[in-house]
């Protein structure tokens, strides 16, 4: 009998979280956290080399609530495996980055591990009930991370984040109910299985199809977030502690994108008016790309700029998804993976600048390279990756999305290219030029460079970004197989 690898990945961080919560000293908490978060990474790597991405793999399935057809079912395929890899890379590195945390450390590391539990659960669930539970479970640790370790307006930001995303989840839940009961009414067999319910969707009554589709889409787009449902994000990001921002941007946003590929993509061709849906989603995507970039350009606070850049970059995911071409769908998945790594570097840089210079206002900074050479180097790498420099992972993703989408959505691609890319380059370069280069602002006083664990964490991330920029195949092939399966299953 083989080991239940995915369940282990969920249970080990959970145990680690409990150990961290009850640990008495800071050292106990942080070493427990780092060990508990690295074991899932080792498991993922082991699984990765044996993965056959063309089908659901290492499936575990047990009856949970037989009366309602609810199962405990987990598994991975080409869509979810890279995201699980991403989660298991990001969480240990975030914990390493936050090794110097001093405030209520046992809770801090415990909550980060709980995020890992929730995120892996979302990416591996094969049952809608489970999927929803894990989806909600990710909210609570983040609420605490923001409201205990957050900035000056943490109360407002935490509650806004919590309620806004909770409402979106509830709307999604209603859509899940409708899926379930419409299928139940058709067959008489209760079943919450995701693939089964998504497969049943094509045979539904047209009257209910669009409601279900848009309700689910709303749930996912709020999480991404896409304009106009993005307003919770800047507040949450700006007030969250660095580790919280990193997890939020690198992992929680990816849950929305994952929902698009896993749930929405197979349904999209079966909506009553597919071309209308594509138009709506493409407009949302392009507006997110362009408007997000312009918002980022207008920010004075470096962290807020990075937060808006996330909206812009996640717009590419939506655009790649809706173009329905294998190349750009794979590219969109790759963008999720790549943005997950790059955004970590950006938020970590903001955190170090805040910590060292006590401000993140771009105009108040300046010449930090003299005091923070190591940070400047790593941060420059991150910023160049984020603006899409060839040779880095972000370029591969955005290039393939646009190259694929131009065949089906060329108007939108043109708008995205002309409205978005130049502005994206502009805000990245201006920000780093003003903040890090030029004359040092003496008012900042004594500024230290980063600690060693912070440097190791960011350097690993940067190396990964470069590695996946030069050699995307290892992840790309897996995603491509996943994308092909979904697209073929949806008869596109």
């Amino acid at each position: 009998m083989s080991l239940p690898l995915i369940s282990l990945m969920i249970v080990i961080p959970l145990l680690g979280a409990i150990i961290a919560f009850i640990s008495k000293t800071r050292n106990q908490a942080r070493y427990a956290a780092i060990i508990a978060s690295i074991i899932p990474l080792l498991i993922t790597v082991k699984m990765y080399f044996q993965l056959d991405p063309s089908k659901m793999w290492v499936v575990e399935s047990y009856d949970w609530i037989p009366l309602a057809g609810i199962k405990y079912a987990v598994g991975v395929d080409g869509i979810s495996m890279p995201l699980i890899l991403l989660a298991n890379i990001v969480i240990p590195l975030t914990i390493l980055f936050a090794f110097g945390e001093t405030k209520q450390t046992s809770k801090f590391y415990g909550l980060l591990l709980l995020e890992q539990v929730g995120v892996i659960g979302v990416f591996s669930s094969l049952d809608f009930f489970m999927f929803y539970i894990f989806w909600e479970v990710t909210l609570i640790p983040m609420y605490f991370l923001i409201s205990i370790w957050g900035g000056p307006r943490k109360d407002y930001a935490a509650i806004k984040f919590f309620i806004y995303t909770h409402v979106a989840s509830l709307v999604m839940l209603l859509a899940i109910f409708s899926l379930y009961f419409t299928a139940l009414a058709k067959t008489g067999i209760p079943n919450f299985d995701m693939a089964y319910l998504i497969g049943m969707y094509s045979g539904f009554d047209p009257a209910i199809k669009d409601i279900i589709f848009f309700a689910l889409l709303f749930g996912f787009l709020v999480k991404m977030p896409a304009v106009p449902f993005h307003t919770w994000l800047p507040d949450a990001h700006v007030e969250a502690p660095t580790a919280g921002s990193v997890v939020l941007a690198a992992l929680l946003l990816k849950m929305g994108g994952y929902g698009l590929f896993r749930v929405m993509l197979p349904m999209l061709p079966h909506t009553t008016n597919t071309s209308m849906v594509i138009t709506v989603v493409a407009i949302i995507a392009v507006v997110s790309i362009v408007y997000g970039a312009f918002l980022a350009l207008a920010q004075k606070d470096l962290k807020k700029m990075v937060a808006y850049s996330s909206i812009s970059h996640m717009g590419y995911v939506t655009l790649g998804f809706v173009s329905l071409v294998p190349l750009s769908v794979t590219g969109a998945m790759y963008q999720q993976f790549s943005h997950g790594l790059i955004t970590c570097i950006l938020f970590m840089s903001c955190g170090i600048i805040q910590h060292g210079a006590h401000t993140r206002i771009i105009n108040d900074l300046g010449g930090l390279v003299q005091k923070m050479p190591k940070l400047t180097f790593l941060m420059l790498g991150g910023f160049l990756a984020s603006l899409g420099l060839p040779g880095m992972s972000g370029f591969i993703a955005e290039f393939t999305i646009l190259a694929g989408a131009i065949t089906t959505l060329y108007v939108y691609v043109l708008i995205a290219v002309f409205g978005g890319i130049a502005v994206t380059a502009a805000y990245h370069l201006w920000a780093i030029q003003k903040a890090m280069f030029g004359v040092f602002n003496e008012k900042l006083g004594d500024v230290h460079d980063m600690a060693r664990y912070e440097m190791i964490s960011m350097a690993i991330l940067l190396l990964l970004v470069i590695y996946f920029g030069i050699n995307p195949d290892s992840v790309w092939n897996v995603m491509e197989a996943g994308a092909n399966i979904v697209l073929a299953g949806a008869n596109i």
Binding site: I133, A158, V167, L173
Partner: protein
Amino acid sequence: MNYSPLIPELIVVLVGLIVVFFGLFLPLRVKKGLGCISALALIASIVYILKSGVLSTSERAGVYFYEAYAIDSLSQFFKLVFLAVSLIIVIASIKRYEDNKYQDEYYGLLLFATFGMMIVASSNDLVTLFIGFELASMSTYILAGFDKTNPKSLEAAMKYYIIGSVSSAIMLFGLSLLYGVTGTTNIEGISAYIAANGIADAPGIAILVFLIAGFAFKMALVPFHMWAPDTYEGAPTMISAMLAAGSKKMGFVAAFKVFIVALIALRLDLQSVFFILAIITMTYGNVVAISQKSIKRMLAYSSVAQAGYIAMAFVIMTPLAVGAGMLYILSHAFMKSGAFIAVGAVTHMLWTKNKNVENADYLKNFAGLAQRAPYTALAMLIFVFALAGIPPTAGFVSKFFLFSSAIQAGYISLVVIAILNSALSLYYYARLVKYMYVLPPAGETLKEPRAYLLAMLIAIIAIFAIGIYPAPFLDWAMNAAATIGM
């Protein structure tokens, strides 16, 4: 005839009598033992019900006393709710009232109240139902005023008593009309009579109005909820827990029996009335809860709101909805009693430090509770997140099935309002969590009394058991729903 299914009731009432009798002679220092005996009696009854297997079948296990008293999975399910709530309250009270010389009466009354609720759960006859209702009410009227030196407690008891008696009278009038029309007090007899002969509009509507007013008072549905916040705030916290988690459910079981079994012919009118009541109740409860300073009052309004969710079962009236409503009732019993016990623990700890603390249950006293009393704060956190319906707790599972049943039956507008309410409630629950976990402590560390912790632990175990493995509980609830023809 096999009378063994009646053993739980017998245990409760006999131990109640024993406690009151021996309380007359025992000195104060050993009276604590009476609480322990009461707790053991409740545990024994719970174990008996669980082992009897009635819960896992929808067949009736027995009918007694000229068809006035029935044992089936509905009755046993609700008895489980009442007994569990009483058990949690008795355990916490052992600490709360250890120095009180009237504690024998307290435990006796608690057991009699529980007995009354059990009678209601099993009654198959309007008269039996009314007697059980009054026994439970009378006992809780006295208990609400048990802190005799506290004017707030006396006010609470008085208010509860006056409004309670009036609504009992209204309910009794409704029941007598029902008897007058159908010529029988047997619930199934009424159902059969109406099915055969129909019921004219005039008496039908009058009966419905009177009965809804009577039951909705106990269920604390808006606009019959006025007594609830004042009483819950003023009454001893344990008794608030009893009223919110136990006695309120008595209103629901009575309503299930009378409305769904006897008056199913008036289904359409019932649905439209409860549609409005449910929406008003949940919205009003949540909106008003936001502005409360007193946690007990906040929990009172949240309990009103939760009654609104449960009342959705009367609107939807499908098997899944009624089953989910029952599951919600079971979950709510643990969540709400746990939350009140946690408030009780905090006030108790503050009072042992300083006898003259005023408004001990106010939000400001919860600041930094996570550092002052970490276990109580963690328990409270779990209770409020369960009340808000966050997975993986009982609150989530109950809401999941209840709201899904509404979707199944096509009540989209109802469920959208319920979900918006659920999000609204998150605000005041999260605010309490913020006070406990984010704000700096309002004083030094407190010593957490063990009896309270045990009571809260039981509630937490139940909340997670239902939340993580709901299958058996859902089975029981669906069986209970099946016994009333759902």
